[in-house]
Structures are given as C-alpha cells and as structure tokens.
Symmetry: C2
Subunit: 222 residues, 2 copies
DNA sequence: CGTCCTGCTTAGGTCGGACCTAACTTTAGG
DNA sequence: CCTAAAGTTAGGTCCGACCTAAGCAGGACG
C-alpha cells in the first residue's frame, strides 16, 4: 500500500483512517460478493464482516452497487476530459482513439478487462448490469457536454450525435472485452485483440455506412 | 389435449376483465404520478386508488417503473423488428431512417414527444431516468442481435458498432425531442423539427467524421 | 348443465436497501 | 484546554420486491 504524499495537508490521521475504513469495507465486500454473489450479500453482512456499523457502509457507498463500481467517476470522466484537453487542432475522433490506446497501454482495467470472475459476478446481477449501463450512458453524456460546450449553437445536434457514436463505440469495445474474457481469453492476448478491435471499430466511424447490409446473400446455397 | 385454446385473443370475459383491471391501474397511477410525482406515490397508494390489492398492481407491473413505461416492449423491439423485416436489398441505415420517419408520421409518442408533463415527471425521478436508459440500451442490444444474426462471423464487430451508432442516434433524437418539449415547443412544430433533426442526424452517420472539431476557431481566418 | 381446472386476485406477511435523527468519538485548530 | 468539524454509531421508519395460501370466477368438458 503506497501513500501518495503529494499534499501534506491531506494526509492527516483523520483522512488516513477514513480511507482505511473505506478500503477495508470495499475489500471485505468484494470478497463476499465474489464468494456468494452480489444479491446474496446484504449491506448488514458487509458491515458485520468489516466490523463497522451498517450506516458507515452507507456513508462511504451511498448505493450498494457503489461497492462494486467504485471507479465509476473515472470511467465517466476519463474520455470526456481527454477530449476536452486534447491538443489544439486534434480532431475529436483522434483524441478518442488516442485515449483508448493510452488506457489500453496503461492496462486500465476499466476498459472492460477486469477479470473473468468480476465479469461473471456483474452479469449474474440485474442491479449491477443496470448500474453498468448507467455508467456507460453517463460517459456519453459527459462527452456530449464537452462537445456541446465547444461547439457553435447550430452544431449542437452534430456534437451530440458524435458523442453518441464515440461513446457507443467505447461501449461496444467494453462488452467485446467482456465477451472475450468470458470465453476464457488470457489477459495478454486480450489486450492485443482489443487493440485490433478498437482499430477496426473506430475506422467504421469514418466509413460510409449507407450501403451496409450484413444479410447473407441467397446466392450461394452451398 | 391439444384443444387447450386458452389464449383466445381479445375474446373471453376473463381476458377482457384482466385487461380492464390493468388499464384501470395504469390510468390511476398515471394520474397520481402526474399530480404528486413518481417518488411521492407508493404502490399501496395506487392500489388503494384503483380499488385493488397491492399484489394485483405488482402482478400486472412487476416493477413500479413499469407503471410509467408500459410501452417499453414496443420501444425495445420496434427498431430491431423493422430492420429485421426490411425488404431484401435495403441497407440497414435506410431501414432505420424509414422506420423513424414512419413512426413520426404515425405520431408514435414513443419517439420522445409524450408531452411536457410526462417529460418533467420522468426527469424529476432518478428511478425513471434509469429505467429510460435501460430501455434505450435494450433497443440497441435488440438491434445488435438482429444484425449479428444476419452477419457473417467476421462481421460481428461491425454489426455491433453499426447497431450502437443507429441506436445512439435514436437516443439523441429522443432526448432532442424532450428538450424541445421542455422548452415549450408545441406538438405540430415539434414533429417538423424532429423530422429535420433526424435527417441531419442520420446524414452524419454516413459522413466522414475524422476531421470533426467543434472547438471555436481563434478567428485568425487565415 | 354441473363440475372441476385454471388462473387472476387477495390478505398478510418477510426481507432488505435507502434514508433519517440524535448522539458519541476523535482529530485539528484556536 | 476547549471547541468545531468530521466520521461513526444505534435505532428506527419507509417502501419496493417477493412469497404463500386461500378465495373466487370463467371456461372447458364429461
């Protein structure tokens, strides 16, 4: 456990204890969820196992789902912030590609490859699936707000559509990663496959899709 | 044995009564929600006002949110079915455009223009916003399943990205309609504006977005 | 034509997550 | 020291989701 002593003022005993409590709760909760499944563990169970009051759990994690997705803020803001801070002259799409590649290279697990057991736990719980959906949508919304703020008023619709396309592509890649995980693909191979998938997916955003028709041609009755 | 025609459509006093009960509950609930707000009305309130047992409400509407979004199935399936049943040779994007235009012409309120009071009620409730998000995502998922089923295995990623783009565009148009509604735009004008917005939005799906950068230029205007 | 099966409805209850209040504990600061 | 602030605590309420066993009415069939 490494303590960031970037700011001496924020490393008081008080904050350290609070952070410790939070991480203890999170660790205990994760273990219980992995063992029994999300729905089968109550907040009271988590509190008892962590040796704190029920209300303390709620104070740190307002919703039960937050015990699982405590990186939600990072997922929601990451893309939008990267696009907002892109170098002048860099197109939006290029910034989005760059951020994805950088996250992948940095091994950011929030791209979707958090581990097969995590993926299974999430998919087994409607509440967690719903929360995950919400996070994905908030990411699109955050990106949309950034683009709308930068765009002329008459470009607002375009900004929102582009945000939806980029965010939608991230979402597809997220679930692609999960599918690969659940199919048993090992981590290093997954990173490679995900990089290739991202390349193809983002290329589709610039392609002319007006003629796309995946339907099997009746031609070959082989 | 095989003569068990229990599911006779529309006929039968039994089904008529059930349907009647369902609609009575739905009507009463809508009125209460509009009057007091979604969160301020309990299921027990709805049951009492409709003159039925609490459990009857739950049987007809498993989740409280279903009392509001009882057309969810239609929203989720509509686009996917329209694309699945498109005439042979029609590209996916053309089918999506056609379905949107047809729904708009038919006055389908599920496009987003359900009325300003409805829009306000939804936005005032986190639970309803979440449910709405879920419906939008399920629509994308349904479309993706259709396209994946029709596509060659090596086209799966493309199918999912296209589904995300089309579904995302529908989502943008839905919220655009709501924004216009909440700004007080009257219904006939809204239909027009929504049609124009749809045209522009779908056009963006075929445009080359690789150079898109909405950031205000610094008026050097070379 | 009556009887039985089916299935909608009902009452009364349990469970758990979200939320509230008031108080207790400890740290940080004057 | 003493106080303000923040974290934690206990005890409780509320309500949505869910369960079960019983009640009741429609429709199928002998």
């Amino acid at each position: 456990m490494e303590t960031t002593r970037t700011t001496e003022s924020t490393t008081g005993l008080r904050e350290r204890k609070k952070r410790q409590t939070r991480e203890e709760i999170s660790a205990v909760a994760t273990a219980l969820f992995a063992e029994r499944g999300f729905e089968q563990v109550t907040i009271a169970d988590v509190a008892a196992a962590a040796g704190v009051a029920k209300m303390t759990v709620t104070n740190h994690f307002p919703l039960k789902e937050d015990l699982v997705f405590d990186r939600a803020e990072h997922i929601v803001r990451g893309l939008a912030d990267a696009v907002a801070e892109r170098p002048r002259g860099e197109p939006v799409l290029a910034a989005a590609r760059r951020y994805f590649a950088a996250s992948l290279a940095a091994g950011d697990p929030t791209l979707g490859h958090l581990g097969a057991s995590f993926a299974r736990m999430v998919e087994a719980s409607p509440a967690l699936v719903a929360r995950e959906r919400q996070i994905q949508d908030q990411r699109i919304e955050a990106l949309a707000e950034v683009l709308v703020a930068q765009a002329r008023p008459d470009e607002e619709l375009a900004a929102r559509v582009i945000a939806a396309q980029i965010g939608g592509t991230y979402r597809v890649l997220y679930f692609t990663a999960r599918r690969m995980l659940l199919n048993g693909m090992p981590a290093p191979e997954l990173a490679d496959a995900l990089g290739r998938a991202a390349h193809r997916a983002f290329d589709l955003l610039t392609a002319d899709l007006s003629g796309f028709d995946p339907r099997p041609r009746l031609r070959s009755t082989s």
